[in-house]
């Protein structure tokens, strides 16, 4: 594999812009890093779950008697037992709709109905198999479009959490599966369609896939009446603490959330997952209790949203898009999780990185009888880009305009208002497109292949707004020996955030990043952070960290002044403390808080003058080889070009770009949860394919454009998700370029390609 990188580096100083090796790398590769999934506490009980085999049904009975009798079983718990310790056992970030264990009803296959606790996990597993449940099966709804009008309702009453103002109108709503409808209205689309020279309308679909982090979900709860400690694989300990405190009716200071390193997350460990269940079980057992999923059980925890996107564009005679109507249906599964946020926050960019005067967006979050869906590396944006960049390509093809030329004609440029009304700033869409065109040699003809193998290329560009408004707090602690520790709630789950944050501290305090200690996440110690999600941390926490370091720097200067040092003195820090305290004693504590300015989208129109503190911009180009006899696709080249402002750590940026692109390659080419009557039929890595080294494209380029995010910390902004956006449409566009067939549904697997080829040839497969 050849890789090319050219990250622009921030030449601010000695620390920022340097490819500092990952601070925790040695511990990880030598197996010494701590993870929740492998952690044990003294006296701890293990949990195995008994799960629903029915997609939608009323629970008639749960017989736990045989399980309870098995030697070694400590407890067998159902919702009745949970209610004795937590009277209102419902949780969730947007809606309080998810019961700790199934409560009267089951809403998806795999929903936990009962929990077995035992010192030996094998005993717990054996006992769980002895539980028998009877259900009265109810009709179920699986399809997101059907869910909008279906007579089958997943929940009898909607219970918004109250956390988000725009969900309040749904309080006590009945007879609906609609958990949120986001609308954007700009201009007059109907009038524009009427005047358009061409109107194009397409429908695209994405499949159900999941995160499959290397470390499955795991939580250990250790409840005492004096306080509770949770060790948990979480991307958001502050939120977990708030939610656990709410369930207990306790102040937050009695709830302690500790998070070691995460074996990745990708959005699957956000908000609250196993924590409420582990808490309840520890309250019942009055011992530490560990709930840890297997790889297979993750198929029943959280997934990406399947989606249907109906997109319609009106184009004038000069090839300018004058109107775009977007209807997006998000399949949220049985519990809302953060789906309503996905629906709104991605919904607002559904019309793409284009300058369109008339835009109409409807984005619907829908309940269905499937595993709940949440955020997955892109917060819904990859689903949108798949549709709008395929659609854009199809229009260019139909109008016989070069695909790049057509995009250039319609690009949203700096200083112009995005359809939300927020004026575009520091969004290098055109530079990204330029670089992509150059790297993929767009202007040169390509070798189209011969015989059964045909070659083609395609590209796509995208825009995303960061989840807003969110808050981060950081503390920088300078000890009397001059060493520095950073306390921040950003979870390092493999993205290298600890290293990047240490670089920012080092930059401000003029010390090597390697010498900065980043303290493990512990809500008793580390201050508030909204969560490690949506490529927000480098920007938001980065600012908080920078401010905390600057605050410490100011306080050190003040201390120098106080002990009589002249202005500009370069007295070593330890000497400063000795001068002040007479010995090696004391601390200097710097704090930093960051919350960006934000104007919420207006109800009804979705318009906002300041919807995001920064824009994420990316483009992808793909070269494919299509085996026209088998439908097999080989990705010969995959190019990602991103605007991420300045790189704090170019090496980490490169791995973030390549990692996200390869993850999306899996979602594009083969990953799919197959469902039969709501039952996942391939809940195993033997049947659910994820990308491996053999799937890495022959050539891969992971590039950034040389720009600065003017309001970013050291000119930087987030990168974690950004290269996922365009991979799917770039490949689909390349397939069309190669063999003239258009796929409208992911994944782009060989059989789909072959079937499309056969339809095109007038000989549909199975008709011979």
């Amino acid at each position: 594999m050849a890789t090319i990188t050219d990250q622009g580096t921030a030449k601010v100083g000695a620390q920022v812009g340097r490819s500092v090796p990952r601070l925790e790398g040695r511990d990880k590769v030598t197996g010494r890093a701590e993870y929740t999934h492998t952690m044990r506490l003294s006296g701890m009980l293990h949990v195995k779950l008994f799960r629903s085999t029915v997609a939608h049904g009323r629970i008639k009975s749960v017989d736990t008697s045989a399980a309870k009798k098995l030697p070694g079983v400590a407890h067998v718990v159902t919702i009745e037992d949970v209610r004795k310790v937590i009277p209102d056992p419902y949780y969730g970030p947007a809606f309080h709709d998810q019961p700790i264990l199934a409560d009267g009803k089951v809403r998806f296959v795999g929903e936990p109905v009962a929990a077995v606790l035992a010192a030996d996990p094998h005993v717990a597993e054996q006992a769980a198999q002895l539980i028998v449940a009877e259900y009265e099966e109810l009709p179920a709804v699986y399809d997101e479009v059907e869910a909008l009008t279906s007579k089958v309702h997943v929940h009898d009453v909607l219970k918004p959490a109250g956390t988000f103002a725009d969900l309040k109108h749904l309080k006590d709503a009945k007879g609906t599966n609609l958990a949120l409808d986001y609308r954007l209205r700009r201009g007059d689309v109907d009038k524009a369609f009427a005047s358009a020279a061409h109107v194009f309308e397409h429908e695209f679909r994405t499949q159900k896939v999941l995160h499959l982090s290397f470390e499955p979900h795991a939580t250990i709860a250790d409840y005492k009446d004096s306080g509770v400690t949770l060790h948990t694989a979480s991307q958001g300990p502050s939120f977990v603490r708030t939610e656990i405190a709410r369930l207990l009716g306790w102040p937050e200071n009695k709830v302690r959330i500790k998070v070691p390193y995460l074996g990745s997350g990708y959005g699957s460990k956000l908000y609250i997952k196993l924590e409420a269940l582990a808490l309840a079980l520890s309250m019942i057992a009055r011992l530490p209790v560990k709930v840890a999923l297997t790889m297979e059980e993750m198929f029943y925890q959280i997934t990406k949203h399947p989606s249907t996107f109906r997109i319609k564009s009106g184009v004038d005679k000069d090839g300018k898009i004058i109107a775009r109507k977007c209807e997006v249906y998000w399949n949220g599964g049985a519990y809302a999780d953060i789906g309503p946020r996905v629906t709104q926050k991605s919904g607002l960019t559904a019309s793409g990185p284009y300058d369109i005067d008339n835009v109409w967006i409807d984005s619907y979050a829908l309940y269905t009888n499937m595993t709940p869906a949440g955020a997955l590396r892109g917060f819904g944006v990859p689903q949108l880009v798949w549709a709008y960049e395929s659609h854009t390509d199809m229009i260019a093809r139909a109008l016989k305009i070069d695909a790049v030329e057509f995009r250039r004609k319609n690009l949203l440029r700096e200083g112009r208002p995005h359809p939300t009304g927020t004026v575009l700033k520091d969004a290098a869409i055109e530079k990204v497109l330029d670089r992509l065109v150059e790297r993929i040699n767009w202007k040169q003809p390509m070798d189209r292949g011969t015989g059964v193998v045909r070659r083609g290329r395609g590209l796509g560009i995208a825009i995303k707004a960061v989840i807003s408004p969110t808050t981060s707090v950081a503390i920088v602690n300078v000890s009397a020996d001059g060493s520095v520790a950073l306390y921040c709630g950003t979870i390092d789950m493999g993205q290298g955030s600890d290293t990047a944050m240490a670089q920012m501290v080092g930059e401000v305090l003029n010390m090597p990043a390697e010498s900065v200690r980043v303290v493990q996440r512990d809500t008793d110690v580390t201050p508030y952070d909204m969560g490690t999600l949506g490529s927000r941390s480098l920007f938001h926490m980065g600012h908080a960290v920078r401010r905390a370091a600057e605050d410490a720097q100011e306080k050190l200067k003040a201390l120098a002044c106080e002990v009589g040092e002249p202005e500009g003195s370069n007295i070593p820090i330890p000497a400063l403390f000795v001068k002040k305290y007479g010995m090696q004693a004391g601390n200097v504590i710097g704090t930093g808080i960051y919350k960006p300015d934000y104007v919420p989208p207006a109800p009804g129109t979705g318009l906002s003058s300041n919807v995001t503190p920064f824009w994420m911009i990316s483009g992808a180009g793909a070269e494919v080889e299509v085996d026209t006899e088998t439908g097999h696709i080989k990705i010969a080249k995959l190019i990602s070009v991103l605007d991420i402002g300045k790189s704090i750590n170019p090496k980490i940026v490169e791995t973030q770009i390549s990692g996200a692109a390869l993850m999306q390659l899996g979602f594009t080419m083969f990953e799919k949860m197959h469902l039969d009557g709501g039952q996942v039929t391939n809940a195993s890595l033997a049947d659910y394919k994820i990308p491996g080294f053999h799937d890495v494209p022959t050539a891969m380029e992971n590039l950034t454009v040389d720009v600065t995010q003017s309001n970013g910390p050291f000119g930087a902004k987030g990168v974690g998700e950004v290269s996922t956006f365009c991979v799917s449409p770039a490949i689909a566009n390349a397939i069309d370029d190669a063999v003239g067939v258009r796929l409208m549904e992911l994944p782009l697997n060989p059989e789909s390609v072959l079937r499309a080829l056969r339809v095109k040839a007038g000989k549909p497969l199975g008709d011979e």
Partner: protein, 264 residues
């Protein structure tokens, strides 16, 4: 974990006796199918008879016009053997396509054939070359050996000791992988040995590996892709699952057969 007895015989005779005495016992060769089955509780045999300490069950030997491979010979050994590469390169190629390096270093030819997974590669070669399976009791022709999905002609106390492959003048294997497991979605083995022409398919059959006699007939005139140009295989009776429909598998059989013929 559940309890089972573990035996480690050192001769085939001991293994046969253990097998005869214990109807619940399973033979453990490479373990790549048996151990996952036990871990997933799809099977819980009361006894395991480990074949790994039995001497003389492993090895590759050219005997006249046959290549004889011991039952406990690992896929990796077959894939890299100079003898196999020269005498029957198609067989070395096939062995090199099984699973991943870890699988190839543990998995054995005898285990793979006895297990008769409908998506395994070796059954295609055994059937596609007209091999003879030599057991603790007798010799079984390939055409008589595979009896359907996970079923073989082996008797409960019978153990494969060797597989004898007649050398073919021309042979090749083409495989389209099921992406998650690496098993054959469809694998086609073709060979020509004098008048004996064989086209054997794995992965696609609802009851395991099978021969495509229509293709074989057509190839009698000339052993060339052109001879089966435009010919298709009916989808009825083929596997259809989440990895590929029966129609798609039928289509792939014809494509891969032509490609194998071109490569042979």
């Amino acid at each position: 974990m559940y309890a089972f007895t573990y035996h480690r015989p050192t001769t085939v005779r001991q293994a046969v006796n253990l097998l005869a005495k214990n109807s619940e016992a399973k033979l453990l060769a490479g373990g790549h199918s048996l151990i996952p089955v036990m871990k997933l509780r799809l099977g819980s045999p009361g006894a395991l008879i480990d074949m790994n300490k039995i001497e003389g069950l492993s090895g590759i030997e050219l005997k006249g016009r046959s290549l004889v491979i011991g039952a406990m010979t690992r896929h990796g050994e077959v894939a890299t053997s100079q003898v196999v590469k020269e005498a029957l390169p198609a067989l070395a190629d096939l062995a090199g396509m099984i699973g991943d390096p870890a699988v190839r270093h543990r998995g054995t030819i005898g285990g793979a054939i006895a297990h008769n997974d409908p998506s395994a590669d070796y059954p295609a070669a055994v059937l596609g070359l007209g091999a003879t399976i030599i057991t603790s009791k007798r010799r079984i022709e390939a055409d008589e050996f595979f009896k359907g999905m996970f079923e073989t002609a082996l008797e409960p106390d019978e153990i494969i000791t060797k597989v004898s492959f007649p050398l073919a003048k021309k042979a090749a294997y083409q495989k389209f992988k099921q992406p998650a497991s690496g098993f054959a979605l469809v694998g086609v083995f073709v060979s020509k040995r004098g008048a004996d022409i064989r086209v054997a398919v794995t992965g696609a059959g609802a009851s395991g590996a099978f021969r495509v006699t229509a293709f074989e007939e057509a190839l009698k005139k000339r052993f060339s892709p052109k001879s089966i140009e435009g010919m298709t295989v009916p989808a009825t009776g083929l596997n259809g699952d989440i990895h590929g429909s029966a129609e798609y598998r039928a289509h792939l059989i014809a494509v891969l057969a032509r490609r194998a013929l071109a490569a042979a």
